[in-house]
């Protein structure tokens, strides 16, 4: 159970950062055992070097054709991002996803593209999908998310989750340390405390009731 939360502004995370060091630096004097650190998936991916500039991608003919199809799902709009997505899951699976989406649309069902082509494609942010200075990049989803949260727990002693939250309140917990009830966290995160636009708060500390009682006591004393 969560009794409070606090969003933490960080520097602009780049591929030169180790996300575990970032978490340690910004939560070291805020989070205590029992709390949970929530980290936005996009900064984990960026720290892993998964932000790609368009010049690094050569869209094939298929990507150039598919970008003209109406009703492209998610954030895949430009040929380079479609090319990157095809390389992530393979062209055959991507095309199966496109076919499934077309059939799904005939019967008024949404979401078939990602069900067939792969959920990881929903994590790809096209241009403008990530804040400056990564707004000209295609940002893929993070890798090895379970290893990342486990390493955070090992180094800091604090539980951790990696989140994918959009602005319409959809929360996905991509990985969580042992013992964290990921489903129970969604209601505390659906208003996206990581913020958007200029609010650069990729780390949120979710405070346990026990620690919250101590904070309240300190606030009264102060």
């Amino acid at each position: 159970m969560i009794a409070g939360r606090i969003s933490i502004r960080t520097h602009v995370i780049t591929e030169k950062d180790d996300i575990v060091d970032v978490v340690k630096k910004y939560t070291g004097k805020i989070a205590s055992p029992g709390d949970i650190v929530a980290i936005a998936e996009s900064v984990v991916a960026i720290s892993q070097g998964r932000a790609i500039l368009p010049d690094a991608v050569k869209p094939g003919i298929l990507a150039k054709i598919l970008c003209h199809f109406p009703g492209k799902e998610g954030s895949l709009a430009a040929p380079p991002s479609i090319q990157v997505a095809m390389e992530e899951v393979g062209a055959a699976r991507f095309l199966l996803g496109v076919a499934a989406a077309g059939l799904g649309r005939l019967i008024g069902r949404r979401g078939d593209f990602f069900r067939v082509a792969g959920r990881q494609l929903a994590l790809i942010d096209d241009f403008a999908g990530t804040m400056w200075p990564f707004d000209r990049h295609i940002v893929l989803g993070p890798k090895d998310t379970q290893k990342v949260v486990d390493r955070i727990k090992q180094v800091t002693g604090i539980d951790a989750v990696i989140t994918d939250i959009n602005d319409i309140g959809k929360v996905d917990i991509l990985a969580a340390t042992d013992g964290v009830d990921a489903d129970a966290l969604t209601s505390y995160l659906k208003d996206n405390p990581h913020g958007n636009d200029d609010q650069q708060t990729p780390i949120v500390v979710l405070i346990s009731p026990e620690n919250m009682s101590r904070i309240n006591a300190a606030a009264q004393q102060g």
């Binding site: 004097k29 805020i30 096209d126 241009f127 403008a128 707004d135 913020g195 606030a219 004393q221 102060g222």
Partner: protein
């Protein structure tokens, strides 16, 4: 006088371990910590228009606010910065930036740099996080812009679709939401706005110029995107009417502000012979909000964020233009 209560408080403020029944706990790492700083334009409770600055921290702390040359200084004591120090750019037309620095053990300075003078109010909202909220009154801007007649022209229309993105976006369509956003923010501050078109129809340059003349416009802002056969061309530019009537100065201000807002390549300002048809009394510019033929910027243009920010950048340029006009008028007296 020493007693246990004072001792506990002292221990908390100095950042030691807080002792309690079940052992020692690191309580929020010692003293209050500032974790976030952000600002937003909001309507106040009494319909006043405010730049709201919010300083979030783990616990409350002591602070003092004072006016300084060009801004407001917030001095905090008994608190540590738990976020990057340095300058946060805001550029909301009133608040230029906020600079936060740890100046000593437990001392933090937060300096808000203002474009124009502003009255401010402040309050602390207890809770978690604790929030120190400073409301900066933007009425200087409403006073400046109220009653100004601005013609906003969404470029192209009808059969003339303007530039076309590498995927499918058309200039005539994407300039419309930007123009409507600009209309809305201008109306909010009391300007009188006329759109040259509100639907997808052809209008000649002469008709657009005549409309601006009919309403005796104080400024004419035409919204476009850049377009080029060179797909590598990117960024924003502002073009101006070739009259010696303030158009070039208006273009400079708008260009400066739009670059701050959009953080795209600055293609500068230049004369636009096509605007020669505008009446010489009306400052007139054509704003090329990024470049539609660039594959990345076509995606930008589809997003609501850039459509809103482009309007805010143009508005900030207009505000600077009219503010400098007022300054010049005073200087002339």
């Amino acid at each position: 006088m020493f007693n246990l209560k004072n001792f506990r408080r002292l221990m908390l403020l100095n950042g030691s371990m807080y002792m309690c029944g079940e052992g020692a706990f690191l309580l929020l790492g010692n003293r209050p910590r500032i974790t976030n700083l952000w600002s937003k334009i909001v309507d106040g409770e009494n319909r006043e228009w405010l730049s709201r600055v919010v300083v979030e921290s783990t616990l409350p702390y002591e602070y003092a606010l004072k006016e300084i040359n060009g801004g407001i200084l917030l001095e905090c004591s008994g608190v540590e910065v738990n976020m990057p120090e340095g300058k946060l750019e805001v550029n909301d037309g009133l608040l230029r930036d906020i600079n936060i620095a740890q100046t000593g053990h437990g001392s933090v300075r937060i300096q808000m740099s203002l474009e124009y003078p502003a009255v401010y109010k402040h309050a602390v909202y207890k809770g978690f996080p604790s929030r120190l909220v400073i409301g900066l009154d933007r009425s200087f801007i409403t006073g400046l812009m109220s009653g100004k007649k601005i013609v906003v022209d969404p470029g192209h229309g009808g059969k003339d679709f303007g530039g076309r993105g590498p995927v499918s976006l058309l200039e005539k369509n994407v300039v419309m939401p930007i123009a409507v956003n600009l209309e809305n923010v201008l109306k909010r501050i009391g300007a009188k706005v006329t759109l040259t078109r509100s639907s997808d129809k052809d209008i000649s340059g002469e008709e657009r110029a005549a409309l601006a003349l009919n309403v005796n416009a104080d400024a004419y802002i035409s919204i476009h995107t850049g377009a080029s056969a060179d797909s590598g061309m990117e960024g924003a530019a502002t073009l101006y009417a070739p009259h010696d009537n303030g158009s070039a100065r208006l273009a400079l201000y708008i260009q400066e502000e739009i670059i701050k807002k959009l953080k795209v390549r600055d293609r500068g300002t230049a004369g636009q012979p096509g605007l020669a048809r505008m009446d010489k009394r009306i400052p007139a510019v054509e704003v090329e909000v990024v470049t539609i033929t660039n594959i990345v910027e076509e995606v930008f243009l589809r997003g609501l964020t850039i459509q809103e920010r482009a309007a805010e950048g143009i508005l900030n340029g207009l505000i600077k233009y009219f503010a400098s006009d007022r300054l010049n008028a005073k200087g002339d007296k």
